[in-house]
Amino acid sequence: MKGILKNKIAALGDQAEIFVFVFLLIFIGVGIVSGAYIFFGKGYDSRMSDAGMLSGKIKECLNYNEIDDKLFNEFSVRCKLNEDILKDINIIKVCIDSSDCVEDSGKFVFGSNFPACFFEGTKDNKKYHRCDREIFLKNGKRIEIITGSVRNSREVLG
């Protein structure tokens, strides 16, 4: 009886040893991986500069063209924007003489969820748009452009 009890205690010791070993591996692994991440950084977040560039491009387009309904009906063609690319990664809103462009229906709207773009809490979350706001005057009208971007690169095998 004593012998069996001793064996059970020994077996328990063996099992406990595995936990120590696994813990050690996890500890070392986390150290190596976090070291690599700290060294190489967490990637290059270009959402803000993307949004700024898009609003700049739209501003250039609005300055260059007569602002009327025809322009907004053919917006992507006239401003040389590829809608197929924009539809999943960018949001655009153009307002004219608006007091609150984020909430207003806007003269031209592409995409949705504009209020979320200026939330402080979403800045570090790459799933949310980072946004840019451009305001300028043309022919006495106050034009406001809001653009947002979640554009990121993707890895392809080959």
């Binding site: 500069s49 063609v77 924007l81 392809v156």
Partner: protein
């Protein structure tokens, strides 16, 4: 004879540990492989920067960019030919950068233009850098 059996027993006793250790080494190696000389990070950077340059270009522009770092990394990672490093797919509005074997980073540009005459020019002197040059033109249907 007994000694040989003893070695076998020791290995068998520690088989669980050996398997765990092998899984650990393979896992860590797979994670660290993603960083290969920063190929992932630099591939991401170059694909985004080239894409953004195309975005703010207009038809008729001629562009030359310093890509010295990218070519150095690709060479270290045994990317066979330099023509493989940068690829632009006009119908898909996509620029891809390959700095390590088997993987490339791709980035879409929304500017409705085409990119032609993609050419990697090698710097010859000490101060000369490798440059990627291309022309931006209207969409060619």
């Amino acid at each position: 004879m007994n000694k040989k059996a003893g070695i076998g027993d020791i290995l068998l006793d520690n088989l669980t540990y050996l398997i765990l250790l092998a899984i650990f080494v393979v896992g860590i190696f797979a994670i660290l492989l993603q960083f290969e000389n920063g190929a992932g990070v630099w591939g991401d950077y170059y694909s985004k920067e080239i894409g953004k340059v195309i975005d703010f270009s207009n038809a008729g522009d001629k562009v030359c960019l310093d890509v010295q770092k990218a070519t150095e990394i690709a060479k270290k990672n045994s990317v066979k030919s330099f023509s493989e490093i940068f690829r632009i797919d006009n119908p898909a509005n996509e620029v891809c950068v390959k700095l390590s074997l088997g993987k490339r980073k791709c980035f879409n540009y929304w500017n409705d233009v085409d990119v032609v005459n993609l050419d990697l020019k090698f710097g010859l002197g000490d101060n000369e850098k490798n440059r990627l040059c291309f022309d931006v033109v209207e969409v060619q249907k």
